[in-house]
Symmetry: C2
DNA sequence: TGGCACCCTTAACCTAGCGTAAGAAATACC
DNA sequence: GGTATTTCTTACGCTAGGTTAAGGGTGCCA
């Protein structure tokens, strides 16, 4: 009963510890609208061309969001583990076909809410508008930071920063996935890792 | 009286046409808290190390937001012209020193609101929370799109996309600034532009 | 206990885009 | 209206990172 909170309890806990905590009533409204779903490794929450119907909160397991370019290569945009959200906002809000995939890297459990139900929460309970505003703001800040790095930093620096900023992802993900997130090939990441060991502190 | 709305009228108009329109009272609250400011070409709204005290809405003129890397090079993160916002959210919300500059590329007029006044609007008028949630969502979507391109597209493709996605910026900005936004050197952009003319449609 | 799928590494060769330099064209400002 | 500062272009050598290919490791399930 300690490591495995009931999924909805995990979500309430999440708001309580990082956002404006919910009242009993708001928690009930939450429970009424979020649905639990378990998915296997390799299964998709979303595929290119589909409309993203749900916002998803990860209760257990691990996901990646990625796009496929015209030469067929995958480019990871985002990872999500426990207590993180994974949703293609562009598709979700505009109700247009997604240009990305969301795939489970491990067996997983998520809580999902439909677009209309979320808008409903927004209109009836001020606090959700606010909590989601803050949530998206934080995402925006993280994205801007990453964009800056991708424009201005070398692959080695980006890897280094990834390790310090996202240790919980780094510990858990295979290097192939990390390479794709950093925008380099697995082969080149391998070379970087070797060099880091060889010339450690850098003179 | 047609092209030059009063600044506050421009802001109300902005919400009216793209977001949930404001009531008379909300517009008055807006007027009470936003301050007009004019800046010369080259002047800074924000410099690295300062805390970003204001959210800024551009009424006239043109700005760039950029970061300077450790070798002294500038990297443009964002442009803003009339009816666009330019604010370092990371610094503004956390009240921490900014890592970026915001500089006027043309003589400009902005409307600015202080952090506390904005939070005040959020708590007293539900609609601002909502309008700003949507505003940030749209910014997030644009950023993600750009990140994807910077990971997966070639410099020439990025330039092409820039021209089609942001014609109003492209028309107005010098190529040096555009190059910095795309993450390439002005010299290389120049080469791309030459090639586009030489081999036009691409067989 | 063997096979299959996935992951990591190494190495040799290749290319997109950078750095530098320097002249020409355009624009800002007094 | 004229000078000074930006901006744009061209060219050439150079480096970060990609590509291809191949070998070895590891865990999983039959």
């Amino acid at each position: 009963m300690e490591k495995n909170l009931a999924p909805l309890e995990a979500l309430s806990q999440y708001f309580r510890s990082d956002y404006f905590p919910l009242t009993k009533q708001e928690e009930e409204e939450l429970a009424r609208r979020f649905m639990e779903r378990t998915v296997k490794r390799r299964a998709f929450l979303l595929q290119e061309g589909e409309v993203c119907r749900y916002a998803s909160f990860v209760v257990a397991g691990c996901f990646k969001m990625y796009a496929v370019d015209k030469s067929g290569k995958e480019h990871n945009l985002l990872f999500a583990v426990e207590n993180e959200w994974i949703t293609d906002l562009a598709s979700f809000y505009a109700e247009q076909p997604a240009r990305v995939y969301v795939e489970a890297l491990e067996p997983a459990t998520v809580l999902q809410i439909k677009h209309d139900d979320l808008l409903d929460l927004f209109t009836h309970y001020h606090k959700f508008d606010r909590n989601f505003r803050i949530l998206v703001e934080r995402g925006y800040i993280a994205l801007q930071d990453r964009l800056l790095q991708s424009i201005s930093a070398t692959a080695e620096e980006r890897y280094q920063n990834f390790l310090t900023q996202y240790p919980h992802w780094a510990r858990r993900l295979p290097n192939t996935q990390i390479a794709s997130y950093l925008g380099i090939t697995p082969e080149f990441l391998s070379k970087i890792r070797k060099d880091r060991v060889t010339k450690p502190g850098k003179a």
